[in-house]
Every structure is written in structure tokens, then in C-alpha cells.
């Protein structure tokens, strides 16, 4: 399936799931809240349009209660803050990402993270 069709299908799936018990998730209402034309959203969902830009995808994710990074990835985009991180240390980050590629999700979530101590 092309990127556009895959992205659209996921958006539609999430929206319909919410719409099944909440009328606020009709195509029209979601489009209005996200700030795009309903016809445009309809085309996106049917894969007739390329996925929208980062900001729109973020607003869609927030409205549907889904993870923005996941939707961006599906749309073939990488969030700009992640791009900055990769640019700053390309070799180290690439190695890190390759090492977690085959790790199960639970294991990835369990990676130890440093706690920042601030002013108090």
C-alpha cells in the first residue's frame, strides 16, 4: 500500500473508532477542530492526497488521542526535533536506534533514563 493510502487508512480507523461512541468525531467536526477543510480530510483518509504537513499531523494526533511521532512516521516524516537530535550526534543515535530495532516494545520502554536534578 502506498504511504498516502496507509496513512489515510490509519487516520480513518482511529477516527471511526472514536466516532462509534462519540458524535464529536464525525469527519466534519474533526476537520473543523484541526483547521482543515472536510473535503481535504476526506481525501487524506481515502489516500487520494499526500499526507499533510507536520503541524496538521500533530493536531490530528492530539485530536484523535494518538501518538504524534507514530503518525508522523507513518506519513514518512520525522518530527523536526528528532531530526535535530540525529544531526547533533548522527553516529551515536544511529547505533542506538539500530540496537533497539529488534527489541520488544516492553524492553524498549524499560531502558533506564537519567533523572535531571534542577534547582531546589
Amino acid at each position: 500500500m502506498s504511504e498516502a493510502k496507509e496513512f489515510g487508512a490509519i487516520i480513518r480507523k482511529h477516527r471511526l473508532r472514536r466516532a462509534s461512541d462519540d458524535a464529536a468525531f464525525s469527519l466534519r467536526q474533526v476537520a473543523r477542530r484541526v483547521g482543515i477543510e472536510p473535503s481535504y480530510l476526506s481525501k487524506i483518509e481515502r489516500g487520494q492526497q499526500q499526507p499533510p504537513g507536520e503541524n496538521t499531523i500533530r493536531r490530528l494526533a492530539a485530536d484523535l488521542g494518538e501518538d504524534a511521532d507514530a503518525l508522523l512516521a507513518l506519513a514518512g516524516k520525522v518530527s523536526t526535533d528528532l531530526i535535530d537530535i540525529i544531526r547533533a550526534r548522527p553516529a551515536a543515535v544511529a547505533e542506538l536506534l539500530r540496537s533497539v530495532r529488534r527489541a520488544p516494545t516492553k524492553q524498549v520502554a524499560e531502558i533506564a533514563r537519567q533523572v535531571r536534578d534542577g534547582n531546589w
Partner: protein
């Protein structure tokens, strides 16, 4: 440096482990020539006195003696180094100078004048890095860094410390020291001792009010007047829970805990050098472990107030203050966030509400006791003893901050420590 994984805070001090490694290596270098220059008679005598040797086949005995008599310089050096590092606690995978801290959900004991034993753990409190919620969290909280922990109003907690290396740990609630009742201040002090010593203190459940008595840590919305901080300082500025961890200096640890246990003669290396199986016994030391079985206003910041009274001793530090390394320490601010606003801040569902006293009693989950008669006990803080408990303050204000304060009859107790109190009946076998 402190890391967070699986709702556990881990503090590591690799520089301490490295210093210790150097001290042990020095021991090996000075001891090896002495061993090589000496005779082997004492070692042989020791071998022949062993139970395993006496009951072994003659051919095995001959082989064992040969292994001592003809041990090469290389095999002696290997044995000396291996055993020395093992005795110093350095041969395990991972860092030696490491402390883990976990916050446990638990039963809020009634505040009815009775002295209760220690309730069990009912699951770990969730911990999240505050930096993961920059967009939704109060900027004052972000400024402090640290972690976020959800608690319901009037929910209780206890803190577990795990580590085999000595640490001095300061614990604060709203930057009021939970052991002395004084302000957070800088560094460690004795008279009064303002810290706990791990591992002799495996758990702490509350504020040290009297000798052998604590008042349980109970979460209350900050600003309602119930927290210990508000009663002592008159202000509701800080809230939360504070931790600062100081390791023992490597030299002090080496001198007091390691030096005497290191092998010094060939005799000490007999078990390492003899590979013939003469039968050894292994002793396992059981670590004490408490069971973990599975709203005034919805203000988001919580502070800790004083709950019911519990039998718990805060042990006096038997070391000198100079033994602690105050040049390195790890700190963490634990923001206590009202569970009712957890979803707003983190986007995730809050944990289920705490168990009631009825549910706890009906479940048959035991209570615990930890008692050491080899350690001196701190007398508690008069300042903290003077603070009104949540229940008493509620009565004075005409409010009802606690939904249920009916008494409990804890009868099943698991004993840990090295002694039994004469008046305690030991119901369960020690784990």
C-alpha cells in the same frame, strides 16, 4: 547520577567502585610476595583439618595436597586476586556502589493512638521523568527537575532502600528533614543525625516522632494546611519528597568492611586452589523484603502530612561522619502529583485508588516487623512530635480529611532483623 527504570530510582557511583578496585589491587600486590616467600605447611595443615578432606577418598586427598604443595606463582596470584575481589564485593556484574530506591503503595494505618506494625507493600508507585511532560507541567516543578509520582489524597507510602554498599540518605518532605524536623540544609550532620544509613535501614515509613515510633507519610493537597511543611514553616511552597544520597568513602569502606576479610596467607587460599571436590557449604543471606501483592480540593501538588503511629526504629549511624563522601552525592526531587489530575498532566490513566483497611484485613496480607538489637536507635524529633497529625488537625478544623479511621487488629506478623521482641508471637517462618 540517578536513573529511572521500572519505577525505580537507581543511584550509581562508579568512581567509588574504581577507587575500591585500586585498593584491592594494591592489597594483591603487597600480599603476593609474602605468600610466595612463605612455606606451605600451615596451608597443608589447614587442608588436612577440613571435614571434606577427612572423608574423601585417599586418591582425592593426595591430589588436593599436591595442588597446594605444587601451586604455581601464576595460580596463587590468580586465586589471590579472584578471592580478594570477591570478598570486596567487586566481582558481581554491575557496580558495587549502587543504591536503589522504590516507593511502595500501602495501607494507611488508622490514627487512633495505637502503635501499628509495618503494613505490606501493595505495588510500586509510578514514577515518570518530569521532562517528559514539559508542556503540561507547572514551570516551578520543571525548574526543580526530578520525577513525578501520582498519589491520592490521604494515601500513604513507604520507601524501600536496596543496596549492599553503605549509603547515607537524607529524606525530606517539603524540604523538612523527615528524621530531624529541621530544614533541609546542606550536607550530613550528627547530633542530631539528619540521615538514614543503608543497608541497616531497609525501609522508612514516616516522620521520626519518638524513639522507635514514626508517624506514617500521608499525602495531602498542598495549601490545605495539613502537610508537615505547612505546620512548621507556615508556608506551602515546596511539597513533594526530596532525596539525597551520599556513598561511604572507598577508603573508609575498605578499612572497615573489606580489609579484614581479604586473604592474607596461602592458608586463606586453600579453597580456591584445591579443585578436587571436597564438599563446600554455601550460606545465603536473606535480604529482608516486604510483600508487594498487586480529596479536599483536586490541587495538583501534594505534600506529606503525619498519619497514624507505627513501630519503626531509625538506626543511629555507627560510622564516623568523616567516613561519608560528601563531595559526591545524588539528589532527586519527587513531585507528588494528585492522581485526580494525573491524566491532565501525563495523558495516561492514574493508578487505581488505594485499598481500604477492610480489603487489606480481608485479604490476609501480613504485617511486618524489623528489629535489630545490635544497633542504637535515634530518639526521634521533638519538632516532628509536636506537629499535628492529619486526623487531629482535621478534628480541630472541623474537616474530615480521612474517609476511614476505624481501628484494625493486625495479628499476623513476619519478623525480620536479628532478634525477636519478647512480647511478639512469631506466626510465620522467616523468609
Amino acid at each position: 547520577m540517578i536513573t529511572l527504570k521500572n519505577d525505580k530510582l537507581s543511584s550509581r557511583f562508579p568512581q567509588i567502585s574504581d577507587s575500591l578496585r585500586r585498593l584491592v589491587e594494591q592489597h594483591v600486590e603487597t600480599t603476593l610476595p609474602k605468600i610466595l616467600a612463605g612455606d606451605r605447611e600451615a596451608a597443608l595443615s589447614h587442608l588436612r583439618s577440613k571435614y571434606g578432606y577427612k572423608h574423601a577418598e585417599r586418591s582425592q586427598q593426595v591430589e588436593a595436597e599436591r595442588q597446594i604443595l605444587h601451586a604455581t606463582r601464576e595460580s596463587i596470584e590468580t586465586a589471590l586476586r579472584r578471592l580478594s575481589f570477591e570478598r570486596a564485593g567487586l566481582s558481581r556484574a554491575g557496580s558495587l556502589a549502587a543504591l536503589d530506591v522504590v516507593f511502595h503503595r500501602t495501607l494507611r494505618i488508622p490514627d487512633d493512638g495505637k502503635l501499628y506494625p509495618l503494613p505490606a507493600g501493595l505495588g510500586r508507585f509510578l514514577l515518570r521523568l518530569i521532562d517528559d511532560f514539559k508542556a503540561t507541567v507547572d514551570p516551578t516543578w520543571l525548574e526543580r527537575g526530578g520525577v513525578l509520582m501520582p498519589m491520592y489524597q490521604s494515601e500513604a507510602l513507604w520507601i524501600q532502600f536496596t543496596g549492599s554498599y553503605p549509603f547515607a540518605v537524607k529524606v525530606g518532605a517539603g524540604k523538612i528533614n523527615a528524621v530531624t524536623g529541621e530544614g533541609w540544609g546542606e550536607g550530613l550532620q550528627k547530633s542530631p543525625q539528619n540521615y538514614l544509613v543503608v543497608p541497616q535501614q531497609p525501609w522508612v515509613d514516616g516522620f521520626a516522632v519518638r524513639k522507635g515510633v514514626i508517624r506514617q507519610f500521608v499525602a495531602m493537597p498542598l495549601g490545605a494546611g495539613y502537610s508537615v511543611e505547612e505546620q512548621i514553616t507556615g508556608a506551602a511552597d515546596v511539597g513533594g519528597l526530596q532525596l539525597q544520597v551520599y556513598p561511604m568513602k572507598a577508603e573508609a569502606y575498605f578499612r572497615s568492611r573489606v580489609a579484614d576479610r581479604l586473604p592474607k596467607s596461602l592458608e586463606d587460599l586453600v579453597d580456591e586452589l584445591v579443585t578436587v571436590d571436597l564438599g563446600h557449604s554455601m550460606l545465603f543471606a536473606a535480604l529482608p523484603r516486604r510483600l508487594s501483592a498487586t480529596s479536599l480540593r483536586a490541587a495538583s501538588a501534594m505534600g506529606l502530612g503525619a498519619g497514624g503511629t507505627m513501630r519503626q526504629e531509625i538506626y543511629s549511624d555507627p560510622n564516623s561522619l568523616q567516613d561519608w563522601d560528601q563531595s559526591v552525592s545524588s539528589r532527586c526531587f519527587v513531585h507528588l502529583c494528585n492522581s485526580l489530575v494525573w491524566r491532565q498532566i501525563t495523558g495516561a490513566n492514574p493508578p487505581h485508588p488505594p485499598f481500604t483497611a477492610k480489603e487489606y484485613a480481608a485479604s490476609g496480607v501480613p504485617w511486618f516487623d524489623y528489629y535489630r538489637d545490635d544497633l542504637a536507635v535515634l530518639p526521634g524529633s521533638a519538632i516532628l512530635d509536636g506537629v499535628k497529625s492529619v486526623f487531629n488537625l482535621g478534628e480541630a478544623k472541623g474537616e474530615k480529611p480521612l474517609t476511614d479511621n476505624s481501628p484494625l487488629e493486625p495479628i499476623v506478623t513476619i519478623q525480620y532483623g536479628n532478634s525477636r521482641r519478647p512480647d511478639e508471637v512469631r506466626e510465620w517462618a522467616q523468609h
